[in-house]
């Protein structure tokens, strides 16, 4: 079938309602959703998990599964209503007119089929072209998505490629038949920041090149700012605000949008002087939505009797033709009013050194191949790690996957023992003591908050029981009654109602589970807490609250917090000092201000540029790292970063390829591992600049 011509909008969704039907009841997933995507336009669909954004995307594809059904409204693609199409008509559109890019590239590629075949299929189904022609086109598209050695890639199986390469293949597959509309469902969530930046860059370029309209689904406002022209904010199944990027980011007219922006750490936010404002309460479950405005119960501007009286329609915001909001009071609210001042707090004074790492190394031996045999390889997960952390200090450890930050955490916790070097906790060597041999005191004073709160709680034990169990292990309290009392106090500490003690983990939301995890970590009065990406699995609106909680407990207990993260925005917001790691090496360490302003280590510079920032005033220097992160099994000679470094040319004599650079002290407390001469470092410009308002 040839592609039909159409002049109007590419996609027009009008009053779309989607429900899922279970045995018990009908669960509305999306209500009264409207949006329009013009040719060449990129529309961002933003919201927290469970708000229905992915459901909208699948509805456009008419792939809602057996339980999902469109119960009202229409989806017009190039003027034709998709909701009324037959299966055959849908098949014609899928893949050729509308293509989709998915969240997990590995899972979306067929593991038992070569990449080439999977790409070639698309034009062969839709245009009936010959295999040679399809192969020629596949080669061309693979070149377009900037993958090296396309011939080899086409012959490879998906598992032979890295995550970033797989995502490029998924993008290539979507572009094979030059679709009119591209749906991207969280396309970079599973990728590292620098890889994400490259993929986003690619998507933007290709969108321009092919003139494709895009529906970009994400929970990351910064990413949407970088990629889209228009944005639609969703909350609990409804679009609450829609408009151009500039309008919504700078002149938001819905309380939820405003609250969302206030809860994410933007440059300028600071944990002491300008703390984040968390959105109170929790996301309503689909079958427990409040009457009237869905955001009502969590809204600062809620007016009883009005906001909860009837369903709220979309209102047009005067001034801009395509800016709409679902708020009854949008013309009464003073939008420029500063946030209700959260109490600024004093910076915690930093105390003595609690934890000192000296030249810590951790190597793993990996045997070659599945069936044994072959030589063993040495994986250098941590190389010469040296730093110290003081009482009451927050030290952030930043780096992408494979940089060794989790290995370091394991060694510190005693889950692994160090290969060489020393870890001193209160001047006591602990690097060679595995956790089962550590004294109760050591174990309870070094604790960890894990990334995924869903997997770290025992599903068959009540919350209170689990905390009491931790207290018992740490030797706190003499009797069960005493421990119970202590457990209730801990619940108070993490701001959970005491009634939660008798609940099962499955009855808790993600944020609440993470609070339990925090309570457990602090049960034995921990001195050092390793927080491994503690908020990255949580929704944006909950992140701020959990971060705040961690800060508050730290302030009270004067805990040393080692905050492992890849999210530089949050690191900048809450840490005192930052350590940047790459391939097992510490490449830069210094106070937050020193690390976030020039001179940078070239890797830090790229990392800063890669992080999307949801602020229209921020100007960023555009640095895209080419290539992949080298494997730790096979690190490059010399400087670990030399394969991707854009400053390499400034170092004479190919020194970078021969020698690992020494740690250079630039300023008191600021060290980088780089061969660049001081003059060159001094020339570096800041990556992030905030334009004057």
């Amino acid at each position: 079938m040839s592609k039909w011509q159409h002049d109007g909008p590419i996609l027009e969704i009008e009053n779309l309602s989607i429900s899922f039907f279970t045995r018990l009841r009908e669960i509305p997933a999306v209500m009264d959703f409207s949006c329009t995507v013009m040719p060449g336009e990129a529309m961002g669909l933003v919201g927290e998990s469970g708000c229905g954004k992915s459901t909208v995307a699948l509805a456009v594809m008419r792939d809602l599964g057996r339980n999902g059904r469109i119960v009202g409204g229409s989806i017009r693609f190039k003027g034709r209503d998709i909701t009324r199409m037959s299966e055959a008509e849908l098949r014609d559109i899928r893949g050729s007119e509308i293509a989709m890019i998915y969240q997990e590239p590995m899972a979306s590629l067929n593991p038992a089929m070569r990449i080439g075949r999977q790409l070639m299929e698309v034009p062969m189904i839709h245009e009936g072209v010959s295999a040679e022609e399809a192969r020629r086109r596949a080669l061309e598209v693979v070149r377009d998505v900037r993958l090296p050695d396309p011939e080899r890639i086409l012959r490879a199986f998906p598992h032979q490629l890295s995550g970033g390469q797989q995502q490029r293949i998924v993008i290539a597959m979507a572009l094979m038949s030059k679709p009119a509309l591209l749906i991207l469902d969280e396309p970079t969530t599973a990728l590292d920041v620098t890889v994400e930046a490259a993929v986003v860059d690619l998507v933007k370029d290709l969108g321009r090149k092919y003139g494709t309209s895009m529906l970009f689904i994400s929970h990351n406002l910064g990413l949407v700012l970088e990629t889209c022209n228009r944005i639609c904010v969703m909350y609990s199944g409804e679009a609450v605000e829609t408009g151009s990027i500039a309008e919504v980011f700078d002149r938001m007219r819905h309380p939820y949008t405003q609250a969302l922006f206030r809860s994410i750490p933007l440059p300028g936010a600071d944990k002491n002087t300008r703390p984040l404002v968390a959105i109170p309460g929790n996301f309503p479950l689909p079958h427990e939505r409040p009457p009237g405005c869905n955001f009502g119960p969590r809204c600062d501007y809620f007016e009883k009797g009005r906001c909860d009286a009837a369903d709220v329609p979309m209102f047009r915001v005067p001034g801009d033709a395509r800016h709409e909001t679902r708020c009854l009071r949008f013309q009464e609210i003073d939008w420029s009013a500063p946030p209700r001042a959260a109490k600024p707090t004093q910076k915690t004074p930093v105390g003595d050194v609690v934890l000192r790492m000296e030249d810590l190394r951790k190597y793993y031996e990996v045997s070659g191949g599945l069936f044994g045999g072959g030589g063993t390889k040495l994986v250098k997960a941590n190389e010469t790690l040296s730093f110290e952390a003081r009482e009451g200090e927050t030290l952030a450890i930043v780096g992408e996957s494979g940089c060794g930050k989790s290995t370091f955490a394991k060694v510190l916790m005693g889950l692994e023992t160090a290969t060489a070097g020393r870890i001193l906790l209160y001047n006591q060597d602990i690097q060679d003591t595995p956790i089962e041999k550590r004294s109760t005191e050591t174990v309870s004073s070094v604790q960890m908050v894990f990334q995924n709160p869903f997997d770290t709680l025992n599903p068959s034990m009540t919350v209170g029981r689990q905390i009491m169990r931790a207290l018992e292990v740490f030797g706190e309290g003499r009797s069960d009654a005493e421990r119970r009392q202590r457990m209730l106090e801990l619940l108070d500490l993490v701001k959970l109602p005491r009634a939660f003690a008798d609940r099962m983990p499955r009855q808790l939301s993600g944020g609440q589970k993470q609070r339990v995890g925090i309570a457990r970590a602090f049960a034995g009065g921990a001195k050092v807490v390793v927080a491994d990406e503690p908020v990255s699995a949580l929704d944006v609106s909950v992140q701020a609250a959990v971060t705040d909680l961690l800060m508050e407990i730290q302030r009270r207990n004067r805990t040393t917090l080692l905050f492992i993260s890849h999210d530089l925005s949050i690191v900048r917001y809450l840490s005192d000092r930052v350590m940047v790691m790459y391939l097992g090496h510490v490449v830069e360490i210094g106070s937050t201000d020193q690390v976030f302003s020039p001179p940078y280590h070239p890797y830090t510079e790229a990392l800063l540029s890669a992080v999307p920032i949801a602020d229209t005033h921020v100007k960023k220097k555009h640095i895209v790292l080419e290539g992949e992160i080298p494997s730790a099994m096979n690190p490059p000679p010399g400087c670990p970063f030399q394969t991707r470094c854009r400053w390499k040319g400034e170092v004479p004599g190919g020194l970078c390829e021969r020698e690992v650079p020494p740690m250079v002290t630039l300023a008191p407390g600021h060290q980088i591992k780089c061969h660049l001469p001081r003059e060159v470092l001094a020339r570096m410009e800041p990556v992030i600049t905030i334009a004057a308002e």
């Binding site: 594809m61 792939d63 849908l90 098949r91 014609d92 559109i93 899928r94 893949g95 050729s96 293509a99 989709m100 998915y102 997990e104 899972a107 979306s108 590629l109 067929n110 593991p111 038992a112 089929m113 299929e121 698309v122 189904i125 839709h126 199986f157 598992h159 998924v170 597959m173 070659g368 191949g369 599945l370 069936f371 045999g373 072959g374």
Partner: protein
């Protein structure tokens, strides 16, 4: 790949040695040997005579030595008759007694002499195995396509009416052992009680296979396996059908049959493939009942005869064959698995 196969073969040989030794040990237990002595030298001999008979025939030496002789890696025992003629393990079996070989065991192709059939064991095993081979071929030819078809059809739309119907069928067939289904078939399809479409005995199939005389034994064995493999295939298929890459394929605009055939099938067959290969050794046992029931004188029937009549040499040979079949099919299954699943790399 070659290294992998070599390594597997080496493990196989070791496993085979262990297993055959266990069988050798069990068949050469004291009471068994006593029975042999009595059946060879007369059933009314005294205990002392039994003792001396065993002594004379080399049965009293250490078990490892005898095992080595049987395998053919140790020279056979020798001795002299009271009248001065030489005798020994190898001498007794050789046609030319003067120039008897020193070694005569499994490895030399000397599998011994069956006391039941009064024939060399190697010959019996060869002919019987060939007959069972024919049976197994037809069973596989029926079972594998039928079960995969049922499994894939049931699994591609989980919970549909087709799925429930086929699942019920597979559970019912797996739940019916051969000695039940075989009897039912004979009664209803090959006797006066029902229709007489088929023959209730497969004896004539040994001379020439026809649909009439062979379908019932084949069906009886196959049916049990069909249910089992179909269930495995269904489980694997339903899992694959919910995978994200199936959605990718669907949203490429492929039709449902194309999605199933091109994307789901190969991935769904990885798990059942191992099960199918496991069916071979199992068939070897399954045929025991069916061959006896249908009076088809194949390998299973021979095994029953050998066991029932304390025919040590034949029994040992049968177990060697069984061990060999199990190990070879497992090797094939491992190699095939690598080809089906590109994620498993053999280094």
């Amino acid at each position: 790949m070659l290294m992998f196969i070599l390594r597997r073969v080496a493990t196989m040989v070791l496993t085979a040695a262990c297993l055959t030794f266990i069988v050798f040990f069990l068949t050469n237990l004291e009471p068994n040997l006593e029975k042999v002595a009595k059946s060879e030298a007369g059933s009314r001999i005294s205990d002392a005579e039994v003792e001396s008979w065993l002594e004379r025939n080399g049965y009293t030496r250490p078990i490892f030595v005898r095992y080595g002789e049987w395998l053919g890696i140790l020279p056979g025992w020798t001795g002299t008759e009271p009248d001065g003629r030489p005798r020994g393990r190898c001498v007794d079996r050789a046609a030319d007694k003067a120039n008897a070989p020193r070694y005569c065991g499994l490895l030399q192709g000397d599998w011994g002499f069956s006391t039941v059939f009064k024939q060399p064991v190697a010959e019996i095993v060869a002919t019987r195995l060939a007959l069972t081979g024919i049976l197994m071929f037809w069973v596989m030819a029926l079972m594998v396509p039928a079960s995969l078809l049922i499994g894939v059809l049931a699994g591609m739309r989980e919970g549909s009416r087709l799925d429930r119907t086929l699942s019920t069928f597979s559970i019912a067939t797996t739940a019916t052992p051969e000695y039940v289904s075989g009897v039912i078939f004979i009664v209803f399809l090959a006797s006066n009680a029902g229709v007489q479409w088929f023959k209730g005995t497969a004896t004539s199939a040994m001379d020439g296979v026809t649909f009439e005389n062979f379908f019932l034994p084949v069906l009886t064995i196959a049916l049990y396996g069909i249910g089992y493999i179909a269930r495995m295939t269904r489980a694997s298929m339903t899992e694959v059908m919910t995978a994200q890459y199936i959605r990718t394929a669907r949203l490429k605009g492929m039709s449902f049959p194309a999605v199933v055939v091109k994307h789901a099938l190969r991935n769904a067959l990885i798990a059942p493939f191992t099960v199918i290969m496991l069916q071979f050794p199992w068939l070897l046992n399954g045929v025991v009942i069916v061959e006896t029931l249908f009076n088809y004188k194949g390998f299973g029937w021979t095994l029953v005869q050998a066991a029932g009549n304390n025919d040590i040499e034949l029994l040992l040979a049968c177990s060697v064959v069984a061990v060999f079949v199990v190990l070879v099919t497992q090797l094939i299954s491992d190699i095939g698995y690598v080809f089906l699943n590109p994620r498993i790399r053999v280094s």
